[in-house]
Amino acid sequence: MTRPNNGVSRRTILAGGAAGLAALGMPTILRAADKTLKVGVYGGFFKDSFDKHIFPEFTKATGIAVESIAEPTGEAWLVQLSQAARAGVAPADVSMMSQTALLKGAAGELWAPLDLAKMKNTASLVERFVNKYPDGRVAGIGAVSWYITLVTNTKVFPEAPTSWAALWDPANKDKLGLLALVSNSFLLEVTAATFFGGTQALDDEAGQLKAFEKLAEVKPNVKLWYRDEAQFEQALKSGEIPMGQYYHDVTGLAAADGHPVRSTFPKEGGILDSGSWAVSRASKALDEAHVFIDYMCQPQIQALMSRKVGTSPTVRRDLLDLTDAEFAAVSSDIPPIVPRYDLYLSRADWLNQKWTEMIVG
């Protein structure tokens, strides 16, 4: 599976866990239904889990058959969708899109505006999971979300750290593993939330430069800037690189398997990344798409996804029947750090250049 926002191949461990869950997983059989909806989902783990646990239930409940399509990684899918839409074709009616890709698509009016009145379950969503065009039309609806948190090896760090500031602690020299790209590590947001009072400190260039300057102080502590998740996960488990940022759900699975690792939500919050459902404007199944998205927003489906897929729910917690342990396995009540996706649209090249110069230079 691939995290929608970063294009990095997803850990096999999670896939292994899912394969275990669905040991005798049934093949997706397209029932003789009146209507078919083509749904684009990130290939690999996500698609497999949705095919096994979610789509058959949806077809049973609504009579709409789902033809799931594996989306390629990176932004290739966005490019394919927008080129096809120009020709009036929709390779998928509904697609799961990363937040940056969703914004880019919105800039080109790629997404069919959605009608919240037709989707009563969207009222349960946490507000940030409704993506809007600048003029207020709805461009997308939150599909799945997940956390990136502060992770540690329990043998090297008997006490869990409580703040992202631990990354800056001189005592942790050469001990950290951090994501290698500005657009998937979200460390500028972490810096702003930890030292400058919140991500709004990144509003202007002066604030961004200040965050870069502060973040550069972390460099001596970083042993590995990783693109490959497996590399860091392995090093974290062995204690070779005992601290860093990583995915909350997978770290939990590794801990459950007996590895000496833990995931901590720092007091500044975990990083909350997400994918959204969006409908191509070339789609001729807009009504079915509304039914689908509405179905996916139901609290019990979000709970099912938390249990089976390991994603964090997009609806308010009080509506969920998740136990405390089940909720903690995928989320936290501490307000999250939400990435400044807008910056990765408007200042993508500048941020990338500054970032590369900072870590390489």
Binding site: E75, A107, L181, K223, S238, N352, T356, V360
Partner: protein, 284 residues
């Protein structure tokens, strides 16, 4: 040996197939890349056909110059290390009984079948503090406590040289297997020790082969983008790593293409230069 000069058009016929392959698989893709390198990057979208120099302008900075310089130095070092180890190895290999030669060559080919990812992970484990070779040194009493050797420049150089080694041997093997054994015998008859005969007779006799092999390894190492990420620190990242970043993660194909074109031109120039130097020396 002189071949008859081609007289008629059909004498060129044997060239058609290679020329066609070269056109389809090199000239056309490279042409597309050159074209894209002049396209206009649209931030927040993709790119639009245009003819601008922005992508090259962005590349011409001290920062990217430094990265390019590092990549060239690294590739040169890898070529030197790989050939320095592989040349005597292949020389000895070519003198083994046929059966043992086959065993060695099969072993080398099986290394070639390993992907770069596996090679990188294997070396990062070998260089780790928790499971690496330094634990053996500690057990032998040579070190007081295990330490981590990766990521570092040394780890990267080792990984790349290891990865290039089998190819180097396979390129050197035909030349060394065909080497006239009487050359060594003559040198020995004249009183040279085996190492001296090797260094003063075999090495100079195969100077051109060595140079050609080094160029191959150089180009091979220059294109590496996985091992620098697995075994190196960010300061050890090659230009190829940054090209990958731009192409895959930033969707900035015009800039990635411009960097790639620049890299190809610089390496072609260096290869041409070394061939020129080699020919001049041969002429003297």
């Amino acid at each position: 040996m002189t071949a008859a000069r081609p007289q008629r058009l059909q004498d060129y016929a044997p060239l058609v197939f290679p020329a066609l392959m070269l056109t389809v698989f090199f000239v056309v893709p490279f042409g597309i890349m050159v074209a894209i390198s002049f396209f206009r990057r649209v931030q927040g979208a993709f790119y639009e056909p245009d003819f601008v120099f922005d992508n090259y302008a962005r590349f011409l900075s001290a920062f990217f110059g430094q990265v390019l310089g590092f990549s060239l130095v690294l590739a040169t070092l890898v070529a030197l290390v790989a050939v320095t180890i592989a040349f005597p190895f292949t020389f000895l290999l070519a003198r083994l009984p046929r059966r043992w030669q086959v065993v060695w060559l099969v072993a080398l080919l099986s290394i070639v079948s390993l992907s770069e990812v596996i090679v990188g992970f294997a070396w990062s484990t070998l260089f780790s503090r928790t499971a690496g070779v330094t634990n053996i040194l500690v057990a032998l009493g040579l070190m007081s406590e295990p330490m981590s050797l990766s990521p570092s420049f040394g780890a990267l150089l080792t990984g790349l040289s290891y990865h290039a080694f089998p190819y180097t041997v396979l390129v050197l093997y035909p030349a060394l297997a065909r080497l006239d054994p009487t050359l060594m015998e003559a040198a020995r008859t004249l009183g040279a020790s085996p190492p001296r005969a090797f260094l003063t007779v075999v090495v100079p006799a195969l100077r051109n082969t060595i140079l050609a092999t080094m160029i191959m390894v150089f180009v091979f190492a220059l294109g590496s983008y996985l091992l620098p990420q697995l075994l190196g620190r960010p300061s050890n990242w090659t230009l190829s790593v940054l090209i990958t970043d731009q192409a895959i993660y930033q969707s900035n194909l015009p800039f990635a293409a411009a960097m790639a074109v620049f890299l190809v031109l610089v390496s072609l120039a260096l290869v041409g230069l070394s061939l020129l130097v080699g020919r001049k020396e041969a002429a003297q």
